[in-house]
Symmetry: none
Subunit: 414 residues, 2 copies
């Protein structure tokens, strides 16, 4: 089974946005055992879209387009598909009701272009878009599947997951593929590779291992193909077990889990509460924690102490320590963690203080120097790191370290 992805929009060609849809779709299709043979990006131009569809049809069984479905004049994908299949637009009552409800709920007036979103090509099956107003479309023509989805990534993802994956499984008989991903943090790709070298060298040819690095994290993905599901599952389970016994301390979760979710689950199971005191991470740890639904049951809040005054007045850091040791020091970070834990009356606390840069570095404490502490009922642990000289990455890495230090403390306290 072969697929081609076509992303539509001038903004992609001129590089104003990065085409993340193609990558995400490439991953999802590969996971299903559908081979992506080609990717194309074309402008908002009917002939260019038609040419791309015609070329794709020669290479692939499934042709997926994203983009050009908005309510404005430069969005021409729907009309192009209508012409391409020599059909007409008809009103879809379900979509109209949905669009009207959205505007009603948000107490916004409808304009003509919004009503027009309920018009769809006669030969398509509507792919309901519960995150937006532009419906997706599924065409089954000439033995090929053509899918059209909005370009907004979160709308596209929900439509693909909920509407397209089940339909593709129903329409085609796809091979047996199993993917398992384990998630590691705070260990580099090459160190990880060294630790699991023997496991990797002994993999059978039908099971592959991929390293997928991102800031502070490496995902390890095993992908296997086989004629028999149960045999493959058993093989992969065994390799996963060996990985766990080899690099247990670095593994924080599996599949699409996040560190902030894992920490939340642990806090909930212990019936414990958390607060944070953030300086260099500036609220990013708090943002990650509160991105988890239900986090209000264990997360009480944070004192973001970007200035020394806030560190002194709100967290009880001694001004003597700030003068002598500085804000980026072991003494300060311990007072911050213990201060916020006491002040917000929580069982645990995370604190960060560092020099995110680009300014503020000294020979003693260069840009990237970060102190992180976690505090619990059995004590406080503080560590120093050098996170490098890139502001955004330093913030992200520090957040991951702080959450991981808390995760380890929670595991010991269970």
């Amino acid at each position: 089974m072969r697929a081609e992805i076509i992303t539509i929009g001038d903004e992609i060609l001129i590089g104003q946005i990065i085409d993340t849809n193609s990558s995400w779709l490439g991953q999802e299709l590969s996971k299903m055992g559908i081979q992506v043979v080609h990717r194309t990006s074309v402008s908002d131009n009917a002939q260019a879209i038609i040419n791309a569809l015609n070329s794709a049809k020669l290479r692939a069984d499934v042709i997926i387009t994203t983009g050009g479905l908005g309510p404005t004049k430069d969005d021409i994908t729907k009309h192009t598909f209508t012409n391409y299949f020599n059909t007409e637009l008809i009103l879809n009552q379900e979509v109209l009701t949905w669009v009207r409800d959205i505007f009603k709920r948000r107490k916004l007036p409808m304009v003509d272009s919004n009503n027009a979103q309920a018009m769809v090509p006669k030969n398509c099956e509507v792919l309901f878009n519960r995150s937006g107003t532009a419906p997706g479309m599924w065409f089954d023509e000439e033995g090929k599947i053509f899918i059209s989805m909005p370009g907004v990534p979160f709308e596209m993802k929900v439509i693909f997951e909920e509407q397209c994956i089940p339909r593709l499984h129903k329409r085609f008989s796809l091979p047996v593929i199993i993917h398992r991903t384990i998630l590691t943090c705070n260990i580099g790709e090459s160190f990880l590779a060294q630790k699991i070298e023997t496991i990797e060298n002994n993999l059978p040819p039908h099971i592959k291992l991929a390293y997928l690095p991102s800031v502070g994290m490496v995902r390890l993905r095993l992908s296997g193909t086989h004629s028999h599901y149960a045999t493959l599952k058993e093989e992969i389970d065994e390799i996963i077990a060996t990985l766990y016994s080899t690099i247990a301390e670095h593994i924080y979760g599996e599949e699409n889990d996040s560190l902030e979710h894992v920490v939340g689950v642990l806090l909930k199971s212990l019936n414990m509460t958390l607060s944070t005191a953030e300086s260099c991470t500036g609220g990013y740890i708090s943002h990650l924690i509160t991105s988890i639904p239900g986090s209000s049951s264990y997360y009480m809040g944070s004192i973001i102490s970007y200035s020394n005054e806030v560190k002194i007045n709100e967290l009880g850091v001694s001004s003597q320590i700030l003068n002598t040791n500085g804000a980026v020091s072991e003494a300060c970070i311990i007072q911050m963690a213990e201060g916020v834990r006491k002040k917000l009356n929580t069982d645990y606390a995370i604190a960060t203080s560092g020099i995110a840069g680009p300014d503020g570095g000294t020979p003693d404490k260069p840009v990237g120097t970060v102190w992180i502490a976690v505090s619990g009922k059995k004590g406080t642990i503080a560590k120093q790191f050098n996170m490098g000289d890139h502001r955004e990455r330093t913030i992200h890495r520090s957040a991951i370290q702080g959450l991981d230090m808390l995760r380890k403390m929670l595991l010991e306290d269970i």
Copy 2:
């Protein structure tokens, strides 16, 4: 002048890496007045590469490929070009010396595959790669330019900037293209379209308007082509001025600016300080503000009050108001904004309180209900919103609203 970008590599098709090379090249080519008409990604397969080159030749004058130039077996771009132009590989002494020097400097042994990097197609001009071992190649054949560069982004960028841009200017007489982008927030795409309908309808055919929406924001991009730079610039300046006079209140910046940067610049110019009190946004506003280098000069910190206790104890919200009006109310949000402004002793403050969901909604206050307040020396402004039923988007939209309300207050205070 028309260009096509071809990125080569299985890892792109399966989505293991995001193709940032195409976006970057798209930007650079557009800036030079070269129109990118098509982008393609193909696998490490000779026939797929040849097909892509043949198709590109029909559409474009400049065909740029990246990827497949490494020393390993799956890197076949150079051999494919050699066959494509029916030529042979010859040794390039300059490249050989360079590669040998690199290995000598790094104290690494050379293997045969490294020596092979000095072999280049006879008909190419070598594009020297001072960041790596694989040279780029420039072919001038059949009146078209074919460029092959490595896929590693920083190597590709240096080669393109230092070697390709000057050659392209020398080889072609390039037209004038001007892009201008203005940034709007807190107005939907369709409402914006309605407000500027007349402007859009009166655009000359050589100037195009594009809507680029993201959560809470729409970028409006004007793109014009013309034979004469000054004339085009004047035309576009005039349209921009009309846009400003039509939708001034929604415009927060231009080009790659961000709302948090704009707010920071205003605070700096006024020599004023800021604090935040975040409930439903959980630190996201603070994270955005502190993502700007130098924000510590105006941002003092935040009280993230995810629990009612923190609202009462740290922000001075009255427990009577929490019992009677609830945490998501006008009375509470005003006390939060004024409370943090006083507590952290700042000139301005932003506060948020809402129901991000998925739980916690009531018929009176459904999921998505958010109160936001900004407080300054002249008073406090509070507004209620419905941000929809998607947790992440509610957090993002609320942050954008909060920053925009502050921006407007700052502009009035200037």
